[in-house]
Amino acid sequence: MAVYERIWRRYEGRLTPIGRRWSVVTRYALAEAFSSRIFTAFYVLCLLPTLIGIFLVYLSHNASLLENIGLTREFMGGLTDIFFQILFSWQAIPAFFVAVIVAPSLIAADLANNALPLYLSRPINRRDYVVGKLAVLAILLSPITWMGGLLVFVLQSYLEGGSWWRTNWRIGAAYLIGHVTWIVVISLLSVAISAWVRFKPAARGALFGIIFILAGFAQAVNFVTRSSIGDLVHLLRAIFNVVLWIFGQPLRNDLPIAASWLTLALTCALSLWLLHRKLRAHEVVE
């Protein structure tokens, strides 16, 4: 065991760049997330849709393997837009659950233990702190969403050869823009909820509530008004409309695509405002 003297001295060594200190917040929060074996196992499972997608792309281009398992390339039917749309959904849903599991403890725990003055008395500010926390979700969600999706797209382009990627570039764009938009929206929303709801199960419930109860509310409004106006608060509809629009498919409602973008933009703006209101070293009671 190392022996430490009970003395104190100044630090005279090198310091890390001040602009990168937010990454310390990210690194420690990631370590905290992966300290749970259950979460680690769940996260590995979240990679399954991508792995299955890669397997199916490989299988559809391997005639001998198809023959060995008694299938033909015609049976596979080729990999159409539908295949990529379904894969998108199967990547986005686990990403939502990862956010539900991780996000509530990102800020709520710091607020509950009065840790914000400790962070903000260091050479980082509130923006660095929020960026550090959001980066946790971005790092966790990227491999299971757009990175995985692009991997499948690149593999399909490579195996298909020719100009397949040129005629189907929308698939790659949909994976990149759709998933990144989803990550931004769900990360901001879940981190904002984490800042306001300190009890983790309640924060998880609130996130589910905002997504699914609002979706139900939107359906009810649509039914009563016989229009698509309720979809303005339907986050899932908004994100899938954006993806369908990039895929070049018809939208699922009568609203213009700008309405879906507006819904997502307003959700982000509201989340940022909530974070701005809540994240202070000390609350001021006026």
Binding site: A2, Y4, E5, R6, I7, W8, R9, R10, Y11, E12, G13, R14, L15, T16, P17, I18, R21, V24, V25, Y28, E32, S35, S105, A109, D110, A112, N113, N114, A115, P117, L118, Y119, L120, S121, R122, P123, I124, N125, R280, A281, H282, V284, V285, E286
Partner: protein, 317 residues
């Protein structure tokens, strides 16, 4: 980037008409002072604005008017560089959930700019220094109040700050722990590597650690003094209880050259010049036939300075 050089000639803290408003309330009003001592005490009753001043220096609250400089750096322009030179120990319980003491202190060190390996090494050193060496792999949430105070001190000094801001560091400590905490703060002061800014409502804590004191009352400066200079002035203070009030005796003492103040009828407080001794006081009393019930020879304590400041007209409401 290299850690900041040792203290330059710039004052530790300069306040220039600093005012802070929270909501509609004025919490700090027109504070102007300059301090260069090794340990500066912020003294005042609860609600005087001590903690608000510390938080303003950390950039938590924006000044409504005026400004402040820490080691010559302007608070409005150099928030991050100022905070890079500060180690802050907050008054209330504060920690990061679910991590051990050594991880907690290392995290704080890394946020202050220490590379990972250096932060880990210094986290161990800091925890041993404050006496938590054996408990460093325990989660901070399981610590007792005294241990939490010590781990807060460790996180404040892990990066070797030029200025240590300690907000009520002996809060909730039992007498042995309080003694240990004050010993540590004095040791840090005497090493000269960090200046200390200590906020407390306990006169004893401030008197035992600080050499300069800023006394706040209702958000204004009630008094400020150089305790070290007061200690070295070696003036003789005497408190006298008379059997009956005597104006003649007061006049006789003034004639001798003493500064006399009547605290209450029959009770005098006086400062004797070098040429006057206690024997001269007894002689004057005997000559006038005044009975002295009690005579205490003592130096002006921080308590006297504080009480004078609180009784004075300084400080607004």
């Amino acid at each position: 980037m290299i850690a900041n050089a040792p203290a330059t000639d710039a004052p530790v803290l300069e306040l220039d008409g600093l005012a802070v408003r929270l909501g509609r309330r004025i919490i700090l009003d027109s504070l102007s002072a300059s301090f260069s001592g090794r340990a500066i005490g912020l003294l005042g009753p609860n609600g005087a604005g001590k903690t608000t001043l510390l938080r303003t220096l950390l950039g938590f609250y924006p000044p409504a008017a005026g400004g402040a400089r820490v080691f010559g750096r302007d608070l409005a322009r150099d928030g991050k560089p100022i905070r890079a030179e500060i180690g802050y120990m907050p008054e209330s319980d504060a920690h990061i959930a679910n991590i051990t003491a050594v991880h907690f202190v290392r995290l704080m060190g890394e946020l202050s700019g220490l590379p990972t390996a250096a932060a880990l090494e210094r986290a161990h050193e800091a925890l041993f220094y404050v006496g938590l060496g054996e408990a460093r792999y325990r989660k901070v949430g399981t610590f007792s109040t005294g241990m939490k105070q010590m781990v807060k001190l460790a996180q404040a000094l892990v990066h070797g700050p030029r200025l240590l801001m300690l907000d009520e560091p002996t809060n909730g400590l039992d007498p042995p722990a309080r003694k240990r905490m004050l010993e540590l703060v004095r040791d840090l002061r005497d090493r000269g590597t960090s200046r200390i800014l200590l906020s407390s409502h306990l006169l004893g804590d401030v008197e035992s650690v600080c050499d300069e004191v800023l006394i706040l009352k209702a958000g204004r400066i009630a008094d400020s003094c150089d305790l070290e200079a007061e200690r070295q002035a070696n003036r003789s203070f005497v408190e006298v209880d008379l059997e009956a009030p005597s104006d003649e005796f007061e006049r006789a003492l003034a004639t001798l050259g003493c500064e006399v103040a009547s605290i209450e009828p029959g009770r005098l407080k006086l400062v004797m010049p070098d040429a006057v001794t206690v024997r001269d006081l007894w002689a004057a009393a005997a000559e006038l036939g005044v009975g002295i019930r009690r005579l205490d020879l003592k130096r002006d304590s921080l308590q006297d300075i504080f009480l004078r400041a609180m009784e004075g007209n300084h400080g607004g409401v």
